[in-house]
Structure formats: structure tokens, C-alpha cells
Symmetry: C2
Subunit: 105 residues, 2 copies
DNA sequence: CCGAGTGTACGACTTTCGTCGAACACTTCA
DNA sequence: TGAAGTGTTCGACGAAAGTCGTACACTCGG
């Protein structure tokens, strides 16, 4: 694994309150990560592959928030931790959310 | 007016970034206000008429945030300041947002 | 004109949040 | 085995956000 004692813990989008999702997406860095993830294939992007202005520690924190909000799923792949957006699950729990996220303004 | 030197200043939802809207709705008190407002007729509710656990000062602050996010419009009516949800404008700028807000989870 | 009612402005306080540096754990590759 | 790469955890720091009390401004009804 990539420096972790255990596999990442996920929360089902169905069990996440809307406030939590809104809070997760209200942060510029996290919103940017999600947008870049939207334009990528599932499991194609490792955590460190994102073009955002924040160090490793901060990045790790943000991914934790996105995970807790049920927006992102992570899996360990060798030394790296790869991500995927939970497109279907989130769309089912919060219909129209992805459209809002990707409607750049 | 109701203790104000000038009329409230509003921002067009079209000019508001999504992060700002998300941040406004990520706060429990504000989300509750918006939901109660959704179930009310336009201009029917004054600021002090909301059943939330916060004092006058905090309430005033929250309404300022909602205004800056383009979600709420305010108008002075005698000694009171009445509110309306900007349903159409917001729906046009952020389609599906109201559905998310009112999808209690 | 005075008192009650409504809401804002200001300042202070507390908590939360984003950030960083450093140490650590694990994998991969030479 | 050893070095490089990846990501987490911890502690600390500063900035931002929510809350409250107070003072103030304005309106309305006796």
C-alpha cells in the first residue's frame, strides 16, 4: 500500500446529508479535483496526479473529505492510491449534482 | 426601514460561482431557512419569523450570506424585512439545485 | 412623543478549516 | 538491500466562519 495501515473507508452517498456534499464541493481545491476527475476515466488518476496548488498533506486531507462525502472511491494499486468518481451512486442520491459541478461559472 | 441605512444589495445568481452557492447551503441554519422559505409564499416571511436556534445578530448574518449567494431577495416592508426565494433565477443558473435542497436526507 | 418591535453594525470570542513541515509506512525498481 | 516514489498521520499555525451581546436606526401603535 501507499503508506496506509488499512484500506480507505467509504461512506455510501445515500447515507450522506446534503450539507456534507455541499461543504465538500464548496472548497476550490476539492471542486477542481472533482472536475478533473470527472474528465478522467475511472481508476485512471492517482492522488498525486492532480494539478492543484497544495502539498501532499493537504491533498490527502481533501481526498479524505471527498471520501467522507461519498463522492470519491479509492483503491490501493501498488504504491499508489487511485480514484474514481462515484458517478452513478451520487447521481442516484443527488440527481443533477454533477451537472451543477461541471457547469463552470 | 428596519434599522438599515440603505436598501439591501443583491447579486444576480448568474454572477455567482457555484462554490459560493454550495458554501451558503452547507450551513445547517441557512439550509433550514431556505427550506422553510421554499415552503412559503414570496414576501410572506420576515427575517425574524424563522424557527432556528440563533439570535438576531446571527440571523442577520445568515441572510447576508444567502443574499450574496443570489439565493434570496429582500425588501423592506415597514419595520420588517421580508424575503423571497429567487426560484426562477436560481433554477436558470443552477438547474436542479432546488430539487437537491428539498430532497431531505 | 414615547415605548415596543424589527433588523443591522460592530467588536470579541470560540471553533472550525485549510495549510504546511516532518516523520512514518509501504511499494517499486535498480 | 538500498534509494526513490507515494500517500498518511501528527502537531502547529493562521485565517475564516458562526455566535453572542450591545448599541444603534428605523417603523409602528398608543
Amino acid at each position: 500500500m501507499a503508506g496506509h495501515r488499512s484500506a480507505p473507508q467509504h461512506r455510501d452517498p445515500k447515507d450522506v446529508p446534503v450539507e456534507t456534499v455541499f461543504a465538500a464541493l464548496a472548497e476550490p481545491v476539492r471542486l477542481e479535483i472533482v472536475r478533473q476527475l470527472w474528465a478522467s476515466e475511472d481508476w485512471a488518476r492517482a492522488c498525486g496526479s492532480f494539478d492543484v496548488a497544495v502539498g501532499k498533506a493537504g491533498l490527502s486531507h481533501h481526498f479524505g473529505v471527498l471520501r467522507d462525502a461519498g463522492l470519491v472511491e479509492q483503491r490501493d494499486e501498488g504504491a499508489r492510491r487511485v480514484n474514481r468518481l462515484r458517478r452513478e451512486e451520487v447521481e442516484a442520491a443527488f440527481p443533477g449534482l454533477w451537472e451543477l459541478v461541471n457547469r463552470r461559472r
